[in-house]
């Protein structure tokens, strides 16, 4: 059995979609490790599944309380949240221009 491999082109596409940038060294390592992990994941394709089997999003289905009412509850100290932002202006979180050049 030979394993499926992710192509370098697809790998680069994934890096972009993941909003990452990689050094050459990182790329080489992560590309190899992804393909190694795929060798493990491919074992799933060999498992015969009963036709009527249902997927499980949880092993033990949550038996929790129903969702609380969707009421607005202000956080007691919003200034603590704002203070965590890397850059703020007038109590707002600031970011660079969304579209392009400054």
């Amino acid at each position: 059995m030979t394993t499926k491999r992710i192509s370098p082109e697809l790998f680069e596409k994934l890096v972009g979609l993941a909003a990452l940038e990689l050094t050459a060294e990182e790329s080489a390592y992560l590309f190899e490790e992804m393909n190694h992990q795929l060798a493990s994941v491919e074992a799933l394709s060999q498992i015969p599944l009963p036709g009527d089997i249902q997927p499980s999003l949880h092993g033990l289905e949550p038996q929790g309380a129903p969702p609380r009412p969707d009421d607005w509850q202000p956080f007691a100290a919003p200034e603590k949240i704002i203070a965590l932002a890397p850059e703020t202006e007038d109590g707002m979180i600031a970011v660079p221009d969304v579209k392009g050049a400054k």
């Binding site: 990452l20 074992a43 799933l44 394709s45 999003l57 092993g59 038996q63 970011v95 660079p96 050049a101």
Partner: protein, 533 residues
């Protein structure tokens, strides 16, 4: 016996009765940390002296002022005749993945190294409301992604207190090491694929992954939301039961927390083992892993001493009246890791999208032209290799063109893994088990740098633990002996849904039955030669 050697149960008993002051307990714990922990984990490059190389390095942050203030509060309550709580004066460490208001919560990652928790996790709050003292935040694999602690961005990463050239396991390695080295009596960890049990086994302590939903996840920085379970680590089963008693129960702020009543875990310990049905499964005697190039499956038997420890435990439990059921089939256990590679990565990639350099955490100091560049630079500079790998793998296996082959298939295999447990615990079925007895890990601890970098081999160190996470059932690890090198062996008891009481009862029984055995007198290397006050 020094204060740091006391169990949580004994500390709380003595503090509550006025025999001990919580402030003295806190001072003793701080002195122990100061003596054996060494420099805390840091983002700055470190060059360690040989003496520092052999320290524990469990802590990222020691919260001395917080611990002393909490101790004073406990002492004041007792002086006023008020109820101080079940954990009055008990030293606790918290895996640095839980929010504790007023402390940094780093997830052992550069990307949120400066994050100050604006609120406290429910599990932590319940522990401190019961009188526990937070001594500090302890190290872990970055975002909990690992099984050795070595992937932490905060170096030095934690060492195994039994032999410091070995890893403590992970990702709750700092938790397990801080308990084993008697810096604290209790630690709060998390278990997504084995992250409480594997390090607890490697460090010779007790660790419990509760049933999914038994302990609130509010305030825990998520890895894989359908698998994550907060849970206790301690030096004996009674302390784990005590800690669970305090933490367990529904939380209106976590819709996955269970509304089922919480059992009385301490009372359960008093019951004997007569007539309990404990299973042994051949499917927990080996690990199955692929050749990285050909994909062919190899079989590697569990380390003989570990296997022997499980069989010996079965004999001891049988002598106490338990019935041992052999050849229990768990045929889908072997698919636990491939399934985990898919489900956990998809959930991790989703959870890690929020770290983008905008709302909190690290932002690149470079000048950027637009928001997308800000995202990419901040994430590239802030995340370590393991988070990047998990994000990429999660995106690949959940992409629309691959989802039916991988993600959807993995969710169906998860159903099969769950059905193994349902069948063997079914009270009307062929096996009618009260617990399954297995190794916790296939080997004892490995040396630093021996596995790190090989992400597949590292993941397979969780093969004995991960099926319980897929199924949501509770599982307890406890010490079962030492190998020929003097490293701890962990044995695991897996129970039916919400039957933590049962596996704690069996584990406590085993502890009592082996209390006088020679191996229990062995001490971790970092504690040998200590002069105890």
């Amino acid at each position: 016996m020094s204060l740091t050697q006391l169990s949580a149960f004994e500390v709380a008993r003595k503090v509550r009765s006025g025999e001990l002051k919580a402030s003295d307990v806190a001072q003793a714990a701080l002195a122990q940390i100061s003596a054996i922990d060494g420099v805390p984990g840091s983002l700055e490059p470190v060059s360690l002296s040989p003496d520092e190389e052999s320290k524990v390095h469990a802590f990222i942050q020691v919260t001395q002022d917080l611990a002393l203030a909490q101790a004073e509060k406990v002492d004041q309550k007792i002086a006023n005749g008020e109820e101080p709580g079940l954990l009055a004066g008990v030293p606790l460490s918290v895996k640095d993945i839980f929010c504790v208001e007023g402390t940094r919560t780093t997830a052992a990652s550069k990307i949120i190294a400066n994050f100050m928790s604006p609120y406290t996790a429910t599990s932590v709050k319940r522990l401190t409301d019961a009188g526990a003292l937070i001594l500090g935040k302890v190290n872990l694999d970055e975002f909990t992604f690992g099984s050795s602690n070595e992937s932490s961005a905060f170096q030095p990463s934690t060492n195994n207190p039994w032999q410091t050239e070995y890893v403590p396991g992970g990702s709750s390695g700092g938790s397990a090491a801080s308990v084993a080295s008697e810096e604290v009596a209790l630690s709060l960890g998390t278990d997504t694929g084995g992250s409480i049990r594997q390090p607890a086994a490697f460090c010779g302590v007790v660790g419990l992954k509760p049933s999914y939903g038994r302990v609130s996840r509010l305030g825990l920085i998520a890895f894989a939301s359908s698998l994550d379970c907060p849970g206790p680590l301690s030096r004996n089963v009674r302390d784990t039961a005590l800690m669970l008693q305090v933490m367990a129960g529904v939380d209106p702020q976590d819709s996955t927390s269970s509304t089922l009543p919480v059992g009385n875990y301490l009372d359960a310990l008093e019951q004997d083992l007569k007539g309990l049905r404990i299973g042994l499964s051949p499917d927990y005697e080996a690990i199955y892993y692929p050749d990285l190039e050909s994909g062919e499956l190899h079989t590697e038997p569990v380390q003989k001493e570990v296997h022997d420890a499980v069989l010996r435990a079965a004999e001891i439990l049988a002598k106490a009246g338990a019935e041992i059921i052999e050849n229990v089939p768990m045929p889908n256990t072997r698919y636990g890791i491939p399934t985990y590679f898919v489900i956990s990565r998809v959930e991790a990639a989703s959870n890690l999208h929020r770290f983008d350099g905008v709302k909190y955490g690290y932002r690149t100091p470079e000048n950027v032209n637009n928001l997308n560049e800000l995202y990419r630079r901040s994430r590239a500079e802030g995340f370590g290799l393991e988070p990047k790998l998990r994000i990429l793998m999660g995106m690949y296996v959940s992409a629309a063109e691959h989802a039916s082959d991988y993600y959807q298939k993995a969710l169906k295999v998860r159903t099969m893994i769950r059905s193994d447990f349902e069948q063997v615990f079914d009270p009307g079925g062929a096996y009618r088990l009260d617990a399954l007895l297995t190794p916790t890990t296939a080997t004892t601890a490995f040396k630093r740098k021996a596995v790190y970098g090989n992400s597949v081999l590292m993941q397979y160190s969780d093969q004995m633990t991960v099926a319980s996470n897929h199924a949501g059932v509770p599982a307890l690890t406890l010490p079962g002996g030492l190998d020929e090198n003097g490293l701890p062996i962990g044995i695991q008891l897996i129970g039916n849904d919400f039957r933590e009481d049962m596996i704690l009862r069996i584990g406590h029984g085993f502890e009592q039955l082996t209390a006088d055995e020679t191996w229990r007198k062995a001490r971790p290397q970092v504690l040998q030669g200590e002069v105890k006050a």
